[in-house]
């Protein structure tokens, strides 16, 4: 009987780690993680040395919004608690800085801690509300919280400065003689960048740790089905309160950093438009992903600034007009709104799970490709 001799093609990746060597689900090798961390650390250190102050100010705000969006991600993306109130907690942080830091002269760590405690405390109360409410009811309730915040910011003049806002320049931002906004010979923009992104790293680690460990699994279970989560022993009520508190703390820290980076706080920075902005950042980056929150914040905020910057440039000049009588079709403010909305729609159409899903798709393709390769015969 004739036999068919099967010629085995040697694997092109002979000698490379096989698919089976990777632990399940996105657990990359240690050396790869360390490389990524090293690259990020290098970017963190070098960026202020080679980037203009104007651009650094934009990057700092990206970081501020990134922290707030991380809080929103934990609450909304991971746990499924829809909230519009994150700007309220930012306002808590910002006005704590203004009042306790600038007006009363408390040191940085003191007013930071006060801001976190107030933000976490109020947010925990919202978590108690979340036990009874869900979905639309909770969203509307938190919208009410936002409005309460706007009222207080506009009317509580001795604390907030009212609708005209309040300078935060007098607030100390440092420990002892170390001023975080004036590190050595570096400019305020450079120092602020480093300060903000240190906090981004810290809170990204906290958020990521929560997401990948037990709390994250509980949050996901609550997100998928509260009843099922309860059935398997997840303390749904307890987690709602805890996650709300953590998210409130994230928002408050973002507010503190916002205040110290802008040196000024006003009610307009913490209204409904900011709530929409944070949602857009979360959705575009990727709901339920801490990395998505940072990526979304970075892309959305930079895109807005880019439009404003290029409105009179050769590409957009034909479209955007600076005055009623100058050439163009729409004002830069109107164009920003249009571009903003289009960006959200396009991302939702082509990448419904956000930009991080593109990375996930790439990794999944690579894993399928690897698993489809024939193994070498013994």
């Amino acid at each position: 009987m004739a036999t068919t001799q099967t010629r085995t093609r040697p694997r092109p990746d002979a000698g490379r780690p096989t698919l089976e060597a990777f632990p399940p689900r996105f657990a990359f090798p240690r050396w790869l993680k360390l490389t990524a961390i090293a690259v990020l650390a290098a970017l963190f250190l070098v960026t202020p040395l080679i980037t203009a102050d104007a651009r650094l100010a934009v990057f700092s705000l990206c970081g501020v919004y990134g922290i707030a969006t991380m809080g929103l991600t934990l609450l909304n993306g991971k746990t499924g608690l829809v909230t519009m109130g994150m700007p309220f907690f930012m306002a808590v942080g910002a006005y704590s800085t203004a009042f306790f830091g600038a007006t009363l002269g408390l040191p940085f760590l003191a007013y930071l801690l006060i801001a976190v405690l107030i933000g976490a405390g109020i947010s925990a109360l919202m978590g108690v509300l979340a036990m009874r409410l869900g979905g639309d009811e909770l969203a509307i309730t938190t919208l009410g919280l936002l409005m309460v915040g706007q009222y207080l910011a506009n009317e509580w003049v001795p604390v907030t400065g009212g609708e005209s806002g309040m300078s935060v320049r007098a607030a100390a931002v440092g420990i002892g003689d170390l001023n975080f906004l004036a590190l050595g010979e570096f400019t305020r923009a450079q120092s602020t960048f480093w300060l903000v992104w240190v906090f981004v790293a810290i809170f990204a680690y906290i958020g990521y740790s929560m997401a990948v460990h037990r709390p994250g699994r509980a949050m996901q279970a609550i997100h998928d089905s509260q009843r099922s989560a309860e059935a398997v022993g997840v303390g749904v009520r307890s987690y709602k309160v805890q996650v709300s508190a953590v998210a409130g703390a994230f928002g408050a820290v973002a507010g503190v950093l916002y205040a110290v980076s802008q040196q000024f706080v006003s009610p307009t920075a913490f209204g409904i438009s900011t709530a929409i902005l944070l949602f857009a950042m979360m959705i575009i980056g990727g709901m339920g992903r801490i990395s998505g929150a940072v990526i979304g914040a970075f892309i959305v905020w930079n895109a807005q600034q880019l439009v404003a910057q290029e409105a009179q440039g050769p590409v957009l000049r034909w479209l955007i007009k600076s005055t009623e009588s100058s050439p163009g079709l729409i004002s830069v403010g109107a164009f920003n709104m249009l571009a903003y909305g289009l960006m959200i729609v396009l991302v939702l159409v082509f990448a419904p799970k956000g930009l991080t899903s593109i990375w996930d798709a790439g990794v999944a393709w690579w894993r399928r490709r690897r698993s489809a390769l024939p193994t070498s015969s013994s």
Binding site: G15, R16, P17, P29, W31, L32, T35, A36, V39, A42, L43, V46, T47, L49, I50, T51, A52, D53, A54, R55, A57, V58, L61, E163, S164, G165, S167, R169, A189, Q262, Q263, F264, V265, S266, T268, A269, Q305, A308, Q309, A311, Q312, S322, T323, E324, S325, S326, S331, V332, G333, A334, N336, M337
Partner: protein, 424 residues
């Protein structure tokens, strides 16, 4: 672990990082440097050929119309200057326009984004916007011309207030109103748009009431948007027969519309900057022509007695023909004139750096506007004095600018002694 594979990945990462850094390299130096081109010292916003001026305006929202009116005036002035060869006959001027959406938070962001690329700010629209960035403007020594007429800004080192401060205008308006026969005991009330400027004028109104012995009534505020019926009813309940207003043209138009609906007709007083082009389309023209007066430091469009009027008309017809030539447009043109005088002086000094512009500004004894607006005594901040004389204008929808001169070159007595609370 496959070392060759590892090395490839690390190498790829390093290359990628290097490309990123190389692409971004040298951008830290972008945005302005001080140097010279042989003729004149350059600086941020001036590269030896073109002077770039910033505008932190409002191009969206309820206040886009008044902001645009001012900006078109300024733009028309510099277009005219450019057509004649530019500053000192050789330096063209460009405007870098950004939108703050009348939001102090956004104003800070736009300021940070533009301050290294501009020589000065030809417009910052809104008192709250100016206050938000004022410490930086002073520290960075960046000359700026707010569209605000808040008197608390008048002696700020970096600020050039072209219009007479609103506090002075408010006091002058009340002084005129109660000096008319039969008005001496009429109840004077005040209603203003919410915000810092409204508060500042309110203080001036209280001062005027003491100085002039006016019968002072309620003092109210209104939001930019919303229903003003409650406030109008309250004015009526307090028997207010003279109502001084401060806000924007949008707010004033809404107040008048609401008053017409409830058949309430006091003597309305406002500052000329609150007159906007759309007011000539007001449904009840008789109402505003008979019940509304404006106090102004400036003249009306077409006033032949103003020597710069021909230039203003020519610029308007050449570069802003679609813009109604209301006072705000004239104010914008005058703002351009003020900055133009500073730039010309700096060019004559051979120094268009930040320091050069600063020194040029402080060296001018007077800022003049060819009769369009009263001249201002200038110099170092402590030496600066606003004009206190004023005109009274009434609405005339058939005129080019929508206003007609009613009383000319009146002398404000009470306003001479007014003091401004210095802003933080």
């Amino acid at each position: 672990m496959n070392l060759r594979h590892t090395a490839r990945v690390i190498g790829a990462g390093a290359v990628a990082l290097s490309l990123v850094l190389a692409t971004a390299a040298c951008s830290r130096d972008a945005g302005g440097s001080t140097g010279g081109d042989g003729d004149v010292i350059t600086g941020p916003g001036f590269d030896g050929e073109t002077i770039t001026l910033g505008v932190l305006g409002v191009t969206s929202g309820a206040l886009a119309e008044p902001a645009s009116l001012v900006l078109t005036g300024t733009q028309a002035y510099f277009d005219q200057v450019n057509a004649a060869g530019g500053i000192a006959g050789k330096y063209q001027v460009e405007l870098n326009v950004r939108d703050t959406a009348y939001d102090p938070a956004k104003a800070i962001q736009e300021y940070n984004a533009t301050k290294d690329d501009v020589a000065a700010y030809a417009q910052i629209f809104g008192t709250a916007m100016v206050n938000a960035i004022l410490p930086d403007l002073n520290a960075d020594q960046i000359i700026n011309i707010p569209s605000s007429a808040d008197g608390t800004l008048f002696k700020q080192p970096s600020v050039v207030i072209v219009n007479t401060p609103t506090e002075i205008i408010g006091v002058n308006a009340i002084e005129y109103a109660i000096s008319q026969p039969g008005n001496e005991d009429k109840r004077v009330c005040y209603i203003a748009m919410e915000g810092a400027l409204g508060v500042s004028v309110k203080d001036a109104i209280n001062f005027a009431a003491d100085e002039l012995g006016a019968n002072l009534g309620v003092q109210l505020t209104v939001p930019i948007e919303g229903d003003y019926t409650p406030q109008i009813q309250e004015l009526r309940r307090d028997n207010c027969e003279i109502v001084m207003t401060k806000g924007s043209g949008v707010v004033l138009t809404k107040l008048l519309s609401t008053a017409v609906q409830v058949d309430y007709a006091p003597l309305w007083l406002a500052e000329t900057g609150d007159f906007i082009g759309s007011m000539v389309e007001f449904p009840d023209v008789d109402y505003i022509e008979n019940n509304l007066l404006f106090a102004s430091a400036g003249t009306v469009y077409g006033d032949d007695s103003a020597e710069a009027m021909d230039d203003l008309i020519a610029a308007h017809e050449a570069y802003a023909a679609d813009t109604p030539p209301v006072f705000l447009h004239l104010l914008g043109y005058a703002s351009g004139m003020a900055l133009g005088q500073i730039l010309e002086q700096a060019a004559a000094n051979g120094d268009l750096s930040r320091e050069g512009l600063w020194n040029a500004m402080n060296s001018l004894d007077e800022l003049t506007f060819g009769g369009l607006i009263s001249p201002i005594t200038w110099g170092e901040p402590d030496d600066r004095r606003p004009a206190t004389n004023y005109n009274i204008l009434s609405v005339d929808v058939d005129s080019d600018g929508g206003l007609a001169m009613k009383e000319f070159a009146l002398d404000g007595k009470a306003s001479r002694v007014i003091e401004f609370h210095v802003a933080n």
